[in-house]
Amino acid sequence: MASFVTRRLIAAVFVLLAATFLMYILVSMSGDPLKELRESSAPNKLELMEARTRLLNLDVPPFFRYFIWLGGIAQCFVGQCDFGVNVQGLPVNVLLQQAMGSTLQLVVSAQLIAIVVGLAVGITTALRQYSGYDYSITFASFLFFSLPIFWVAVLLKQYIAIGFNDWLAEPSIGIAVLIGISIVSGLLWMSVLGGTGRKRLTTLAVATVSTGALLAYLNLTGWFSTPSIGIVGVVLTAVAAALGVTAISVGLKNRNALRGSLVTAAVGIALYYPMTWYVFRFMTLPLFLGLAVLSVVVGGAIGYFLGGRDRWQSARTSAIVSVIISAVIALEGHLFYWSDYFNSTRINGRPIATFGSATPNLGGNFWVQGIDTFTHLLLPTIAIILISFAGLTRYTRSSMLEVMNQDYIRTARSKGLTQRTVVVRHALRNALIPIATIIALDIGALIGGAVITEFVFGWSGMGQLFQKGLQNVDPNPVMAFFVVTGLLTVIFNLVADLLYASLDPRIRVS
């Protein structure tokens, strides 16, 4: 194992050296870094050109300049990385730090959501193979896969930002739209849940009517201008979460686990008023994170102590329920300030932003800042999700289908195990092995920044660093970008290999 890792790491160093060398030569030969100065009619242009030449060592041929650059990078080993300066004379170290920060902010939540949604949809499509639902998702994911992101971004801005903001000025859903949404939702539920003809019809009817009723209620109460969840919403989601999570995780037959999650739900509901009345007013980021951790611990503890024989299963179930309820209550905390935010002089009733990562000079407490981050992250996150989602659902679906057709699944079925046990415990675990590799590699690629997404949404992350550097024929920022992404790719490749070996006992690294 150790020798495997060492060998891989040594190989990685050579790969990186060769790649950076190639990249450096390509970038420095991609154009003329003095072009804009040559076009200038400034009287001191010779001096300006000389200054830039001096700054970027343009008098040294690219082949040797690479080694000057490499010398700076080599100082990383003594803890003093030096990525050089860009064409404007700013240190690339600082630029890289700023870029990494904003890229992480952009990519982390998008990737998490894409993984959760992608896995869930992939599994359900595999279970409902060749159903209407499966075909629609297949169609949608191929569509998303082939959409150019700059175009998606323009559409998102036009409809989710500009159109939605216009709609928010007088938010109400027309009758025709309401009926349309209800029917679509009914059809969706019907094809996901499946079953016999009669069951399908019932699902369709129930889902259509309840969606329609919910929308009509929200419409009439003016919910869209003053959104809130309220205690009713919290109770409903808490009970639904307790039942749903238990059903999927351990099955409703496991009475101990069910008891644990219901108690967790009750505690969550009971905490709604104390939290919103006394705690939320003093919210800060550390407190928020502390409460989040606490909710996991408390949920886990409740499950553990009420768990009976399978304590850890029950603890896991209750912990998930607890996280869901906490998230709903936290969302409520944000919604308290929605109308303040909405009517603020800086927002002027147009909350969804088309670019940037924050409203300038907004001010505001923890909750308002949270809303602001959300309204800025919304569009780029959707754009990234749409693209990653497409791939993930396809991979999950095919991997799941392959596993579901294995002999041992048939054996499990013939033993009389429930559908849940077969799917969750026997099939899903094995289906996840190849997915883990894909996700590991995906993360490496994503931290490299979504070049186009960042550009069109005005996020100055890694992608921008790369793109601007290339535009100015400025090797140093491009190389900083390349070193980070190259390193991550190599590392995550290694991680994926190790992960594979630890998940699949048939594979051994040596």
């Binding site: 040559r38 000057i68 008891r259 003093f282 300030y337 303040d340 670019f355 940037g356 005005g458």
Partner: protein, 603 residues
């Protein structure tokens, strides 16, 4: 059983909660800022408060500095140079030797309350003339090749101001330390040789007391000012070395610095917040007493690189004013936006086609007749119709002068007289006749342009097709590295690129058209033109300057130098809740009258 009991408990909790739902939870103060901003989109982030160094020399910086620093003069949108007497006055005391006196008005202050005075101007002179720099010093020897920063071996008594000034032009001609007068509010500078663009030579100043405090480890503003004056007057190399090093790099920042001294202002606005790569906010300067009192309290410049993103941001109300790079797509997109005013106009850069008079690849254009023939078949109007009109509409016009900026005084008269009218339309027959006269058939033209710029590729194709009609064989010498090839002997026969006009200074045409000038890429040499340029460089009377420029313009067109084609199209769009946006062709384009912008009365 127990499940049922727990279920009951859940229900009970639910019911109690439901009863309580009548009361709303008390919320804390939202803490939202009550101010409003006018948001302007710009494509590049601000990065240096010193726009005079080779680093800081960029429009993104110049815009901000323009709004925060008052100065003796500025360009309006005609364009014309206007004096700002509320800041101070300047006058030419004598013509030979050229002596200029700058006096700052009593009571003009930096935003920290310190007076703006001779110390600031003196440091500004030292930095932008480089007259006190250590002679023959080559900083390359002491520059860390990795970072571009100076190494520890950098001599402590070397003075090096990174302003790129040269001793034979502009402020560099003022070699002696200017004299201070009027209780320390004025300085008098003596130019070594006459310099007619003296009004443009002295750029806006940075606070000397801040440079002094930081460079010389002082804490008192008054003492710092005195120390700066003393260092300059005594030519104390040790102090000047630290002053120059702080001046070179101390004002570069990419987010709001901790030390507020680094962003002092004298102008209508002060920087109030700055987030890296996102936005920079300027607030009206409460202590401003000058002529350009703004009505808009707060201006935020948000950095958006993508032009289409800027249009959608305008549509969504994220920004109020945009000035994106003009393309046909952008103007089409803008046409569909409601409640927005779109101004289509021109930018400072102009496209032109130069013919290599000497040292060309094929020697085609050594014969003036062949040059004239080629100029006759350049489809200037077609280029405008096909490439520029889709962007700015019917207002697109040819630029017909090699010297004058359209709109500036003298342009119209010069265009009438300089003979450019002969090349307004393609004249194939005339060109054929000229070629026959010159006795050449199928002359080869190696045509240099930027192969990565789609507009220039299109222009090239139009020219190639049109010139072929008269028998020219136009070879595609387009190159992505065209900038480096400019002026290379034997590399090409004709070139297409843009010159940027940054001022109306009369001396700027010299380097392009005089024999051996640094921007003379065509090896153009005309004794008469040289004579006019020489006269122009010594003529102080604006009327006579224009006369000489007209002569020069005609001489250039008459020698079949090449043609100018169009001024780069520019587009500005703003939300109708703002009034008074009226962009200028010269930098700082949309910002030149920021103080006249108003929030429109609600309709």
């Amino acid at each position: 059983m127990r499940i049922r009991r727990i279920g009951a408990a859940v229900a009970a909790v639910g019911v109690v909660a439901l009863v309580m739902s009548g009361c709303a939870a008390p919320t804390a103060e939202s803490g939202l800022d009550k101010g409003t901003s006018v948001n302007v989109a710009w494509n590049q982030p601000f990065y240096s408060y010193n726009g005079m160094t080779s680093f800081g020399n960029a429009t993104a910086n110049a815009n901000i500095i323009y709004m925060t620093m008052d100065w003796f003069n500025l360009y309006d949108n005609e364009p014309k140079l206007v004096k700002n007497t509320e800041f101070g006055s300047y006058e030419k005391v004598s013509e030979d030797p050229l002596t200029v006196k700058y006096t700052i008005k009593d009571g003009v202050k930096w935003s920290d309350g310190t007076a703006v005075d001779a110390a600031d101007m003196l440091l500004n002179w030292a930095a932008n003339s480089r007259s006190l720099d250590t002679p023959d010093f080559d900083p390359a020897e002491f520059t860390d090749p990795d970072t571009g920063e100076f190494t520890d071996a950098f001599p402590k008594d070397i003075v090096f101001f990174d302003s790129g000034a040269t001793p034979d032009s502009g402020l560099g001609l003022v070699h002696d330390v200017p004299k201070i007068g009027d209780d320390g509010r004025s300085i008098t500078m003596v130019y070594e040789t006459p310099y007619v663009d003296w009004e443009l030579a002295f750029p806006s100043a940075l606070p000397a007391h801040v440079v002094g405090k930081n460079a010389l480890d002082l804490t008192d503003n008054k003492k710092a000012k005195d120390a700066v004056i003393k260092a300059i007057q005594d030519k104390d190399d040790k102090s000047l070395a630290s002053l120059s090093s702080f001046w070179n790099s101390g004002f570069n920042f990419t987010e709001l610095p901790k030390d507020p001294d680094l962003y002092l202002s004298t102008g209508p606005y002060t920087i109030s917040s700055f987030k890296a790569d996102q936005f920079i906010t300027l607030k009206a300067n409460p202590d401003y007493t000058g002529a350009h009192k703004p009505t808009i309290e707060e201006v935020t410049i948000r950095f958006i690189g993508d032009p289409l993103a800027a249009v959608q941001a305008l549509q969504n109300g994220d920004v109020d004013v945009i000035s994106p790079q003009a393309t046909a797509d952008i103007t089409t997109a803008l046409d569909g936006v409601k409640n927005v005013t779109v101004i289509k106009g021109a930018e400072g850069t102009y496209e032109h086609i130069d013919l290599q008079i000497d040292k060309s690849k094929n020697g085609t254009f050594s014969d003036p007749k062949v040059r004239e023939a080629f100029m006759k078949v350049i489809p200037r109007q077609e280029i405008i119709d096909k490439l520029i009109k889709p962007i700015v509409g019917e207002d697109a016009t040819l630029r017909d002068s090699q010297i004058f900026v359209p709109g500036a005084e003298g342009y119209d008269d010069s265009v009438k007289a300089n003979g450019s009218a002969a090349y307004a339309e393609v004249d194939v027959e005339g060109a054929k006749a000229l070629l026959a006269e010159a006795g050449v058939t199928s002359p080869k033209v190696c045509f240099l342009y930027s192969s990565t710029n789609p507009r220039r590729v299109n222009e090239f194709q139009l020219i190639q097709t049109s010139a072929a009609l008269a028998g020219f064989v136009v070879e595609d010498c387009g190159n992505e590295n065209w900038g480096g090839l400019l002026g290379t002997p034997g590399a090409y026969d004709a070139s297409l690129f843009g010159w940027q006009s940054t001022s109306l200074g009369v001396t700027s045409s010299g380097p392009t058209f005089e024999t051996g000038g640094i921007n003379n890429m065509t090896f153009f040499s005309n004794a008469e033109a040289d004579k006019v340029i020489k006269k122009l460089n010594g003529e102080f009377d604006p009327e006579k300057q224009i006369e000489l420029q007209k002569q020069l313009d005609k001489l250039i067109w008459d020698s079949y130098y090449g043609v100018t084609v169009f001024q780069f199209p520019g587009v500005t769009a703003y939300n109708n809740k703002i009034d008074g946006v009226d962009p200028s062709i010269l930098s700082p384009t949309i910002f030149w009258n920021i103080w006249d912008w108003k929030v429109a009365a609600k309709k």
